[in-house]
Symmetry: C2
Subunit: 85 residues, 2 copies
């Protein structure tokens, strides 16, 4: 069983109100020195079978077609190494 992680983030040019809200809250809570915050989604997919190029291609297709809205979001697909947290 292997884990593939799909990270979906708003494109840099798209306004991110959730991230901005976090960024503005940080100094009030005593955390300085953080100049920007972006908030996105993380999907952890458990695959049965080997994570070969074909499996990753299918996951990229799934990410593109319905995990991310590629008009406003970028996504990355990566295999999480064994034991990585």
């Amino acid at each position: 069983m292997a884990r593939v992680v799909v990270d979906v983030m708003l494109k840099p040019e798209i306004l991110d109100p959730q991230g901005q809200a976090v960024q503005r809250a940080l100094p009030r809570l005593g955390f300085d020195g953080i100049t920007d915050v972006r908030q996105g989604k993380r999907f952890e997919l458990e695959l049965e079978g080997p994570v070969d190029e074909a499996a990753l291609a299918r996951i990229r297709e799934a990410a593109e077609s319905f995990l991310a809205n590629t008009v406003i979001e970028d996504f990355t697909v990566r295999v999480e190494a064994e034991g990585e947290k």
Copy 2:
């Protein structure tokens, strides 16, 4: 300028209806072989200054106190390597 990533995921024992909805949709859309999906949040924080142990400790504190709800969520803090996407 360095980027620190905070991943926030529901604890394994907590029901994840968003992830389940994605998992159930996948076979209908023609993607088989995915046995489990968990959906969480990803925060990208841009720091000014060095990312030393003190800075990471502050970010862990911020993550624990208000990025994650540690009753139901786990979080991880990591420095994103230069040039990593």
